[in-house]
Symmetry: C2
Subunit: 464 residues, 2 copies
């Protein structure tokens, strides 16, 4: 079970010196990569980067599995209330590791898995249509917020509590599991004071690095994913992504390539799985890459306004939507293909009418076709001078996906070092939150409300 | 029913001269906008831009409704076999105008609508899991390809034919409707020779402009969308988007603003609906914008490598994923918000625990919250010097969505004029297709196969 990484089509020997990366450029980064590696390992040694240890921490997994077993006997549906890092990993791995039409299947066809819904927005339409669909008595909600005060999630929680208690009465608390900080915050206080079931997000693990905590593990276990295999896969990647030589470490190497490509003006990072199952992994990665690297100031306080823009695409589908732009538009993209070696099933193409000119496809399989399209797109992009690389998974299994997730997390942390920014914070979202508080009438935000009014109700607006 | 367009936060008076657009810059475009307008109207007058007339062409709609009525009596499920422009509009409007959990509802809860599935990839997993879910006797397939020879769609067709005929025998043709060119191509020939039901895609209407033909209308009608209202909405926009004065025409004006922003280095066009229903409209627009404007050469044959990169985001969800980057990263984006004035339903926020610090939210509604978050994000982006504008819909109805789609189609065509490229072709995807033909053994592509082999099997590969 080994993730492959082919970066031939990133290199100057193939793309030319302007947009390709030379051996000299890569090797020129070596001293910095060694310093970043030492720094990461030192911080890890001090317990400051606990996400590294998550695949090896058996205690929480046993607890999650015990709780999941109990909830599976009691309920038919699980609804995640969470946003950003509290939702994206679950959505990505639910798509990757459960049947694509999981929620449409009868329970026995789903194995023991519950139907899974993720509410990661506060659109009244999405929330009311989802609640209308479900029977309160059969539904358990996972309320996920590290701080325990995420506005969107707490509003959902309040609505869901009301909805459940109207139907089941005093036992409504049994329909909620609070996943939050181990000691502090309003959700933890509620769990302690009112006896809700709860799980802990280990201290020091930020939202976008929390997939291997109960944040991701509990909903995925409830849906029927083998979370031990997932963690075993992540753990199997640990040796490779802690190698000090960046040329041997796929996480470090890909970070270095992406960083050098950014320096050549390739500011858009496209992740393009050729796999229906891996489609939403690109959304999970979008948060990881954008929120970690998109920063105004570097670690020394210099104004840098840096950060690649991650874009999601799907092969072959987006060949008929985005690839025209990727082939012919500005030279501003790196495409990273995700490609399974084994799709897990296959279909043979029966006869096609001679008139279609496609009779030659008869007897080939869809797996051959989709793999050929991926390779054809890679070669055509390269011929057009477009940087691309391929991460290949032996198959779309919990082990392989776990390994890939762990690799991409380390890659992001390492890229933070290369870009010289703090990959663990997100200061840029505070201003918008403050304006929201002001608009919703939070005490203490009256000045912010006035600032909003001045900005929003300008004398000269341009409106059509 | 009027689409609103607020572009205050695009302007230099708000953003400053470097990234904002001045009155002088806008007015400087006036002569070109007039020339492009005259050219479009002249081509329309000659019948060369037939998509303009689609909202007014009642004949095909009557035919589609008659056919839809018949199929609704015979079947429970409709499966679209199509890719790119044959799928994206249907997916976007199915999401916008049907219940979000449509396929999970009992038939009477869906009105008369069939369950709708769209197969727009050739991953064997997606196709086999979808077929496994369905009863052949209850399923109708819409095979959509203008040329009648799209590889992905024809392979799906062949597999679906085989699957249906094994179960229902000789009457398998009754389970297919071919939507294709009115006279030529393999699918048309099949329809004529073997008596399949069929619909026509009017000549001169390209895939990404085909939503208001049977390509989009038939599947949407089968799912229960009021397609007359959809077309009436599109038609109601026609007067506004054919106004010659670009400052009065929202399609022309937005094209001009996006074009000027591109000229200031804002190469990424984010579409960010604050609405679960409007989420996938951004995917439909991604194809329209990317494939139409992403071009290597301009109309005079100069090498330009031009084209904005469209990106999909969802509010409030992506505030917890992408907005950090939008606020603090490079100055390379324009954000276009889509915002419904009326969400169509609402939920009041019940009490929140005092400990959460959110008790002030009690009694407010989710519609207030999501609208506040959109406005807060817009003001915070503006304060950070980030260009943004808002398209507002009175409500997410067939009329409003129809109007928006028509506006964005005209906007794209007009933007083609400003960028000086042909918005109706996609020459850049041919090379990848040719390599795929070669890999799959199509006669006549032997040289291409050798070229592929040289490119793919290089002596020095970089693989980890």
């Amino acid at each position: 079970m080994r993730i492959g990484f082919d970066y031939t089509n990133m290199m100057a020997s193939v793309l030319g010196p302007e947009r390709g990366i030379s051996e000299a450029e890569l090797e020129g980064l070596r001293p910095r990569t060694e310093a970043i590696h030492r720094d990461l390992m030192a911080r890890r040694g001090k317990g400051l980067l606990p996400f590294y240890e998550l695949p090896f921490d058996k205690g929480p997994v046993d607890d999650v599995l015990k709780l999941a077993g109990e909830l599976c006997r009691l309920f038919e549906n699980v609804v995640v209330l969470g946003i950003g890092g509290s939702a994206l990993g679950t959505l990505a791995l639910f798509r990757a590791l459960c049947p694509l039409h999981h929620n449409l299947l009868a329970r026995k066809e789903r194995g023991s898995g519950l139907r899974l819904f993720v509410l990661d927005n506060v659109d009244p339409v999405g929330i009311s249509e989802t609640l209308d669909l479900l029977a309160p008595a059969e539904t358990v909600f996972l309320v996920i917020s590290k701080s325990g005060s995420t506005v969107e999630t707490m509003c959902q929680f309040s609505i869901a509590q009301d909805w459940v208690s109207r139907r089941v009465g005093a036992s409504f608390r049994d329909h909620f599991v609070l996943i939050t900080d181990p000691v502090s915050g309003p959700l933890r206080k509620l769990a302690v004071d009112e006896g809700y079931r709860s799980c802990s997000i280990p201290e020091g693990v930020g939202g976008r690095f929390s997939l291997f905590t109960p944040v991701g593990l509990l909903p995925l276990a409830l849906a029927g994913v083998d979370i031990r295999a997932l963690l075993a896969g992540a753990g199997s990647m640990a040796d490779r992504v802690t190698l000090g030589d960046f040329r041997e470490n796929p996480a470090y190497l890909n970070a270095a390539l992406q960083y050098l490509a950014y320096g050549k003006g390739l500011h858009i990072a496209v992740m393009m799985p050729y796999s229906d199952r891996l489609r939403d992994l690109a959304d999970w990665f979008r948060q990881l890459w954008a929120e970690s690297l998109g920063k105004k100031v570097d670690l020394e306080g210099n104004l840098v306004h840096v950060g690649p823009t991650p874009v999601k695409a799907l092969g072959t589908t987006d060949q008929h939507s985005q690839v025209q732009l990727y082939m012919e538009g500005p030279f501003d993209k790196v495409v990273t293909f995700l490609s399974p070696d084994d799709y897990g099933c296959d279909l043979t193409i029966p006869s096609l009418s001679a008139a279609s000119g496609l009779a030659y496809l008869e007897g080939h399989t869809l797996a051959e076709l989709i793999r050929s399209e991926q390779q054809a797109t890679a070669v055509a992009l390269t011929k057009n001078g477009r940087a691309n690389c391929t991460l290949s998974l032996p198959a779309v299994t919990p082990e392989a996906v776990g390994a890939l997730v762990y690799m991409l997390e380390v890659q992001t942390l390492f890229a933070g070092g290369l870009f010289g920014v703090n990959p663990l914070d997100q200061p840029g979202v505070e201003e918008g939150k403050d304006f929201t508080y002001a608009l919703m009438g939070r005490p203490g935000f009256e000045e912010k409300k006035e600032e909003f009014s001045r900005a929003f109700h300008r004398e000269s607006r341009y409106v059509l």
